[in-house]
């Protein structure tokens, strides 16, 4: 074989990969007998804490999944070809992808949905690249309140002449923690550096609702496209991206019937207006009729895919994630529009209950603006408190200093969330444990009176229902 290829050894096949990027030696232990391996894995698994009351969200959300979802996913018919290029043998898979695209399109209120991407971060980065291709501009603006991992992924995708600038957040007042619209306006005004796209999250990373129509209006006035980074369950109660002028919506599909499963695999949601259909990467499935006039499903606009366009494909970093897209479809279809609305509304109600309980023991909200089901609280020594709560069986969300270590305003803050699976008992345990950690006294520097007063005044939390 080497002779036929005209090369001396196998290593020559890897000459195109720079030496620095090649794996030299894999640091793997010696082979183990299966029994020993099983015992080792069981010991590792036993280190997982399954007893915790969890208030962790930060981009991944626990939801109750109807058993039908996992049961249907077990059917062998779904474990088929990676990508169903042949319609004559793949009608079932193609129909499931078509239904996924239809359901997500309805949630997003946008025309086109691609199936699909690795996760919300990858979908967001693809959305940013789409804006550059569509506008032939090279600079995007990303709100600092977009999930830090997503911002890192956008930065990793950008290079080779593409630029990312961050839009700062409002520091004080009623809008603290949301995208600084005045700063956005200034960033858009630079005539020498025209902006391709503006990216903002809704709810944002801190759980806050953003002035999306205003951000979109400013983006469009500067000739830029507007990308909404959204959480899909929230779309049952919040205005969908299409309704406030988003050209593209990206998001993490995990909340739709996919377990947190240690960080993946997940599902990247990506949708756009019809005007951008030739820019959207990933597979699109259309409905058509066959030669006998019967309804059929087929991959459409395929010529832009990587197997044909190679390096000029819309993206070479996308995948079907068909099984996870199917999970999302079954989840959404099983719950239905009313069920999904109940999930979102119940999560918001639980979060309101959580806010009151935490404020009462001296941990008020960090930012005052409206939120849906996730919010930051002010807790002095947040990282230490987080550890001590873990000892008491409480996973107190995320210490924001862990993910944004350079932002001093987040040094004393925890990001906590509630969903429909959060119970009143868990909320009471969290509050009691926090009070215990505080030593029965409100922590120094926290104005309990102000927090309690604030929490007694109900405010709009669930945004404007559709």
């Amino acid at each position: 074989m080497l002779e036929a290829l005209g090369i001396a050894d196998v290593d020559a096949l890897f000459d195109d990969i720079p030496v620095a990027l090649r794996a030299s030696r894999l640091d793997l232990p010696e082979p183990q007998p299966e029994l020993e391996l099983a015992a080792r894995l069981e010991a590792l698994a036993a280190r997982n804490r399954t007893d915790l009351a969890s208030f962790l969200g930060a981009g991944v959300y626990r939801h109750w999944t109807p058993p039908a979802v996992d049961q249907l996913l077990l059917r062998g018919e779904w474990y088929t070809a990676y990508t169903p290029y042949q319609p004559e043998i793949s009608q079932g898979t193609l129909q499931s992808i078509y239904e996924y695209e239809s359901l997500i399109g309805e949630l997003m209120d946008l025309d086109v949905v691609s199936a699909s991407h690795y996760d919300g971060a990858a979908a967001t980065a693809e959305a940013a690249l789409m804006t550059c291709r569509a506008t032939r501009r090279t600079r995007v603006l990303v709100s600092r309140a977009v999930h830090p991992h997503y911002r890192q992924t956008v930065a990793a995708y950008f290079g080779g002449g593409l630029e990312v600038d961050e839009i700062p957040l409002v520091a004080d007042g009623e809008s603290a923690g949301t995208t600084d619209v005045a700063a956005l306006e200034r960033l858009l005004a630079d005539p020498d550096r025209p902006v391709a796209g503006v990216l903002a999250g809704h709810p944002n990373f801190f759980g806050l609702l953003e002035p999306m129509p205003e951000i979109g209006r400013l983006a469009h006035a500067a000739g830029a496209l507007f990308v909404a980074v959204v959480e899909p369950v929230s779309l049952a109660v919040l205005a969908p991206p299409g309704s406030y002028g988003a050209d593209i919506a990206a998001g993490e599909g995990q909340p739709l019937g996919i377990a947190p499963q240690y960080g993946g695999p997940y599902l990247g949601l990506l949708a756009s207006t019809d005007a951008l259909v030739r820019q959207i990467p990933g597979r699109l499935v259309g409905m058509t009729t066959d030669v006998d006039g019967r309804r059929g499903f087929v991959m459409t606009l395929r010529a832009r895919e990587q197997d044909i366009r190679r390096d000029k494909a819309a993206s070479n970093i996308c995948t079907n994630q068909a099984l996870l897209a199917l999970a999302a479809s079954i989840y959404v279809a099983t719950l239905g529009p009313h069920g999904l609305r109940d999930v979102a509304a119940l999560g918001a109600a639980r979060a309101a209950e959580l806010e009151l309980a935490l404020a009462a023991v001296g941990a008020p909200r960090l930012y005052p603006g409206p939120y849906l089901n996730e919010f930051a609280i002010r807790v002095p020594g947040a990282r230490d408190v987080h550890r001590r709560l873990l000892d008491r069986g409480i996973l107190a969300g995320l210490a924001l200093a862990d993910i944004e270590p350079d932002d001093e305003t987040l040094a004393d803050a925890l990001l906590v969330c509630a969903t429909e699976v959060t119970t009143s008992d868990e909320i009471a345990r969290f509050a009691a444990a926090l009070e215990d950690v505080f030593g029965g006294r409100p922590p120094i520097g926290v104005e309990v009176g102000a927090g309690a007063e604030r929490s007694e005044r109900p405010r709009a939390r669930a945004g404007s229902p559709r």
Binding site: R278, A303, R304, I308, R309, K312
Partner: protein
């Protein structure tokens, strides 16, 4: 049959020069190789093109190809008819299937393009 009054590129574009303007399209050979053309993406008028720069994309049922500017200059007009009827490129590649009109930045550039016999030799060689 390759029209003798046009100039050609190795990328299978043709150019019809009239004064300081050039009309650009793709050849019959290119269109037949691509198959049924379903979409043509063209630049906005006013865009300045460098010679050999990508100015658009032509998409058939089986392939997508970039379009390369045979000459440099400013885009004066694009063939809007192709939006609704991209099949014109297959049917009348040298007529109604034209793509863009360019104001030539450097008329000498056309001298470097292939003439009909050279282009015919190119496609005959495959």
């Amino acid at each position: 049959m390759v029209p003798t009054d046009l100039r050609y590129t190795k990328d299978h574009e043709w150019v019809r020069v009239a004064g300081d303007e050039a009309t650009v399209g793709i050849t019959e050979y290119a269109a037949s190789q691509l198959g049924d053309i379903v979409f043509v993406e063209l630049p906005d008028a006013g865009r300045k093109l460098d010679q050999h720069a990508t100015f658009g994309v032509v998409e058939s049922v089986k392939a997508v190809s970039d379009l390369f500017a045979p000459v440099s200059g400013e885009v004066l007009a694009t063939n809007d008819a192709l939006t609704g009827a991209p099949e014109l490129v297959n049917g009348e590649p040298y007529g109604e299937g034209w793509m863009i009109r360019i104001r030539l930045a450097d008329p000498d550039e056309t001298e470097g393009l292939l003439d009909a016999s050279a282009y015919e030799a190119l496609i005959a060689a495959g």
